[in-house]
């Protein structure tokens, strides 16, 4: 039996209030019919006696207090999932928008997910190769990790995301029975950005292992609140029931958080920081924590959420709370971008927390951690030398500091910088690292074990073309 309720008692932004409801459940999905034909979905987000507050996914345009019929479904938001979703494009609530008809679901799952029991998790220990030196070398992405990209408006995070989708693989020792795929969810992106992604996926021939969910910037705001959950539900199904390694890219989480703020304010809730609701942290966590590996299952869910920092401010609540939940961060930098270095990854504030256990012997190469530590440490000294040079002039610097300036420039151009199509192996990356370290006198390399230095360290110099070549042997 299902009762249809006629009319609404109020409409405010994306929220409507229905009175006289019986048997409505918190978090339940309702179906609404506007003007007798148009069908919309909504979710009950508050109940007070017989009054239910409903958030309408498709927005409230065209709704009037009298023209709406509401029906309770008795179910939370669910999505049908299937392996046939590869190569397809869906809107923010998982309905196909590529004109290829509906997908036959193998299973229907509640999109809200449930927390993974820490006891059944497996600690992530193997890496994903992105082919980008700065990431692979210094902030290695580990299967089951959540590693966000902190970007700003006008920075090439879209190009970087597309490159990640194109190049990511399970590493050099990839064995064929392990399947790798990408779930791509865009929230509040511009039309041309959405086009850019679809075009790039199609051109590079990776579409057949990508599932795309798109909520455009002018699509209803509330719809994007559900988009990441829909995408992750599909990802979890493929990873934990089909044993695939799934990389989930979520862009742009800033739009998601702002949608939350909009709904919260319509609801008249008490704001905490910058008008965001007090539950922003919990809500972000329920998304990010859905990355991981489950004991005894072959698959994994890895997340790369992308967010644009308002005004490049890393202390803004969205990047700040994200950083506290995720296992590290990749920070893009406007200065590097200004110097035409792509990808403009600012390595010092960037970090991968799970890296230490997923690299080295048996995964990448034994010297990986040492090289990474030394590059971080040496590059942080470049900053000191530059600060000093800006005060007293480059000429007045000590020889060591001058050498740091040379190292710094070469590091930015050769290690961080690479082209959009450059797909480097881990060994390429480490080789470039050693060449760069060769520019520094051996005594300055204080983070590397002596044995490793003996094996790999060879002094180098910059030649006239700006290439790094082995130094002439001195006797």
């Amino acid at each position: 039996m299902s009762i249809e309720y006629l009319g609404l008692s109020s409409i405010n932004g994306p929220l409507v209030v229905l009175e006289g409801v019986k048997g409505a459940a918190y978090d339940e999905i309702v179906e609404m019919t506007v003007n007798g034909k148009e069908r919309r979905l909504g979710k009950i987000i508050e109940i007070n006696g017989d009054k239910a507050v409903i958030q309408v996914f498709e927005g409230t345009d065209g709704m009037a207090l009298r023209n709406t019929h509401t029906k309770l479904t008795g179910k939370p938001m669910e999505i049908g999932v299937s392996e046939a979703m590869f190569g397809r494009t869906f809107n923010g609530i998982g309905e196909p928008i590529d004109g290829l008809g509906s997908v036959e679901a193998e299973k229907t799952i509640d999109v809200n997910g449930k927390p993974l029991n820490p006891v059944t998790r497996e600690y992530p220990r193997n890496y994903i190769r992105t082919g980008i030196s700065a990431i692979d070398g210094l902030m290695t992405l580990i299967r089951g990790q959540k590693l966000p990209i902190f970007s700003g408006n006008g920075l090439p995070h879209d190009e970087l995301a597309a490159q990640l989708v194109r190049q990511s693989s399970l590493g050099d020792s990839n064995n064929d029975d392990e399947k790798f795929a990408v779930v791509f969810a865009a929230m509040g992106v511009k039309h041309d950005v959405a086009d850019f992604f679809q075009r790039t996926f199609a051109e590079s021939g990776v579409s057949d292992h990508v599932i795309t969910f798109i909520n455009l910037a002018n699509d209803p705001v509330v719809e994007r609140l559900i988009t990441p959950k829909v995408a992750l539900t599909v990802a979890e199904y493929l990873a934990f029931e089909k044993g695939m390694h799934i990389l989930v890219i979520l862009t742009d989480m800033t739009s998601f958080a702002e949608a939350m703020r909009e709904v919260s304010s319509s609801k008249g809730e008490i704001p905490s920081r910058k008008g965001f609701p007090g539950y922003l942290y919990s809500e972000l966590a329920t998304i990010y924590e859905r990355a991981g590996i489950v004991n005894g299952v072959n698959g994994s869910v890895t997340q790369i959420p992308i967010l644009t920092m308002p005004n490049d401010d890393i202390t803004h609540p969205i990047p700040d709370l994200t950083g506290y939940i995720t296992e590290g961060q990749i920070v893009l930098d406007r200065d590097l971008n200004g110097q035409s270095i792509y990808p403009p990854i600012s390595v010092l504030p960037s970090l991968s927390r799970l890296m230490k256990d997923g690299i080295g012997e048996g995964f990448t190469r034994a010297d990986h951690q040492d090289v990474a530590n030394q590059l971080f440490s040496s590059y942080s000294k470049v900053g000191d030398a530059r600060a000093l040079a800006s005060v007293i002039g480059e000429d007045e610097l000590s020889d060591t500091d001058k050498q740091y300036l040379i190292f710094g420039r070469a590091f930015e151009q050769m290690f961080i910088g690479q082209s959009v199509n450059d797909n480097r192996t881990i060994f390429d990356t480490l080789e470039i690292g050693w060449k760069l370290l060769g520019l520094m006198p051996r005594g300055e390399l204080d983070r590397i074990d002596t044995k490793v230095l003996d094996q790999y360290y060879k002094p180098t110099v910059l030649d006239a073309n700006g290439d790094i070549v082995p130094a002439a042997v001195e006797d």
């Binding site: 939370p76 820490p118 905490s272 924590e289 010092l348 927390r353 007045e396």
Partner: protein
């Protein structure tokens, strides 16, 4: 007949029943058809406000709330150690058995294993008069820890009969107690204790013994006392969790309660895996044998996050009552404060600073004040030390949680983003951090390590402070123009920073360093300073001094001298003498 109420309104974790249904404040209740666990947090004449410890999706108005006539409590008995619980003491491994990979709602499992037979030795005799807190039995809970079963602090009476030593479950009767009014009650190994009520004690002692962590910057520079409180604030990526892991692994507490409050699931898994493999050097048993984890990860329900800190604290007090030194790692108290804020917002309370409720400060003080070195009811002495991580918004220490925490802790280990970026770990900023326990602990150090310990420590801090002010000048004009005695300060400060303060958690000798080695390292570094200073006074330029390899050598003592071969350190002083004479000889 339990009290019941009818659900009227639902908003996130907050559920209201339609009238005053006779519930008590902080009573534990079961909510709705799925029997979700909740707690009464507000009563008015027309509504009862309940916070629900599980997801509330699917609850309908009209469903029933059932009371339990008891406040939210934890179960205390053997089986707590080497276990992992959620925020309201439900064992996660049992939940996984019932429920699989994910945690669903309304799972009903016992807090502790009620079937397991424990080898029990009864320590009281019939006819004996016993008070609350008296140890009535002993159970080897893990190979490392003897569990002392106590009479609940609220009871008192005469032992009528006891069972033979043998194997019993936690619900078997082990003795009969005659109360003062003549009634007889069976006593088992189990106690229940409300999480928000501190367990009673006889008296408090002042801080006098350090909690030794094996971390140089903590033990030497900013020591924490047993029974003390410390805050570890730092932005993300600065190493809060790493610092807590190191203390949990290496500190000389008997019991570790590790509370993952609103943190990452993978981190809890890591602790669980790593601690089961790591061997405690003091007992030779796995670290998990002395550890309990409370995991309420950031995606688990927010109300249980608020409760998790109190659950952990109550478990800690219980082991303190047995006479153990317990250390609590609370990671992170900011998430707990945010849970307060979230619930307060849902209750539409008037917010104070940054949306936090006005009672944030009083809740924080009540939490930290449950730490202390105590004499227990049974006369034994035990301590609860609290090490709380703070995750300040934007890494800014002026935000309300850090500021209010600072008022109630006596040890402040501030983590610095810049140090972390330079991969200087532990990234504890020596200029901002402090320990108020230093004077309390000075006599202990003088007696147990060396009479010069605190003086050497102060000299180290003085050099680091001098360095900081010199660096202001260096930033403007470069180091080359400084006079040699100031250059020496910079050089020796670098040795202190690299050779002493930086500590490598992944190096087998450096991860945990005994106090005596810490002292001797200071001794060598200060000796090098003293000798170099003498050379500089005799007109030797720093550029000459610097050519010698002694600087690098002293900086890498931490790696070169194994913790069990400390006699090697004596050689370093001889090397410094040689260096001194060599420089004089060459340049005289």
């Amino acid at each position: 007949m339990a009290t019941t109420g009818i659900i009227f309104a639902i908003n996130g974790p907050i559920v209201k029943t339609s009238n005053d249904s006779g519930f008590e404040m902080h009573e534990m209740v079961y909510v709705g058809e799925e029997n979700l666990v909740g707690e009464v947090i507000g009563l008015t004449s027309d509504a009862t406000v309940i916070e629900v410890y599980e997801e509330t999706g699917g609850i309908k108005p009209g469903e029933i709330v059932t009371g339990t006539d008891a406040p939210v409590s934890v179960t205390l008995a053997p089986g707590i150690l080497n276990n992992i619980f959620d925020g309201i003491e439900r064992p996660l491994s049992e939940i996984a058995k019932v429920d699989g990979t994910y945690i669903s709602r309304g799972v009903s499992v016992d807090s502790l294993d009620t079937k397991k037979l424990w080898k029990t030795h009864i320590t009281v005799k019939p006819g004996q008069a016993i008070d609350g807190g008296t140890i009535i039995a002993e159970v080897p809970e893990t190979p490392a820890i003897l569990h002392r079963v106590m009479l609940s602090p609220n009871l008192k009476g005469y032992v009528l009969d006891v069972v033979e030593d043998g194997e019993y479950t936690i619900n078997d009767k082990i003795l009969t107690l005659q109360l003062e009014d003549g009634s007889e009650i069976p006593i088992t190994m189990t106690q229940h204790w409300p999480i928000r009520v501190p367990r009673p004690i006889k008296k408090r002692f002042p801080a006098s013994v350090p909690l030794i962590t094996g971390q140089r910057i903590l033990d030497t520079l900013f020591p924490l006392a047993k029974g003390g409180t410390a805050a570890v604030p730092g932005g993300f990526g600065t190493g809060k969790t790493m610092t807590q892991h190191q203390i949990a692994k290496w500190s000389d507490a008997n019991i570790i309660i590790y509370i993952g409050c609103g943190e990452r699931g993978n981190e809890m898994t890591q602790v669980l895996e790593e601690f089961s493999e790591l061997i405690d050097p003091k007992t030779g048993n796995p670290l998990m044998d002395r550890t309990t984890l409370i995991a309420n990860t950031s995606n688990m329900p927010v109300a249980a996050r608020e409760a998790s800190l109190y659950s952990g604290l109550t478990l800690a007090e219980y082991y303190r009552d047995m006479g153990y030194d317990v250390a609590i790692m609370a990671d992170s108290t900011s998430r707990w404060a945010e849970a307060l804020r979230e619930i307060s917002g849902r209750l539409e309370e008037m917010p104070a600073e940054e949306g936090f409720p006005a009672y944030l400060a009083s809740r924080l003080s009540a939490f930290y004040e449950r730490a202390g070195m105590m004499q227990n009811l049974n006369g034994s002495e035990g301590s609860v030390s609290i090490i709380g991580a703070v995750s300040p918004q934007g890494g800014d220490f002026s935000e309300p949680v850090t500021q209010n925490t600072k008022r109630f802790v006596r040890c402040f280990w501030g983590l610095d983003k810049r140090l972390a970026y330079a991969r200087h770990f532990p990234a504890i900023q020596w200029l901002d951090s402090y320990s108020e326990y230093l004077t309390d602990l000075a006599p202990w150090y003088a007696e147990h390590v060396d009479k010069n310990f605190v003086e050497y420590r102060n000299r180290l801090v003085y050099i680091l402070n001098q360095e900081a002010s010199l660096m202001e000048i260096v930033k403007l004009i470069g180091a080359d123009v400084l006079p040699d005695d100031q250059k020496l300060v910079l050089d020796i400060a670098k040795v202190i920073r690299v050779g002493f303060l930086q500590q490598n958690a992944f190096h087998k000798d450096d991860t945990c360093v005994p106090l005596i080695k810490q002292y001797k390292m200071m001794d060598v570094i200060l000796y090098l300073y003293q000798k170099s200073k003498a050379l500089v006074h005799q007109g030797m330029p720093m550029s000459v001094l610097h050519q010698d390899s002694i600087w690098d050598k002293v900086s890498s003592i931490k790696y070169d001298v194994p913790n069990d071969k400390l006699e090697m350190l004596d050689q370093y002083k001889k090397d410094i003498d040689t260096f001194y004479e060599k420089v004089l000889e060459k340049n005289a």
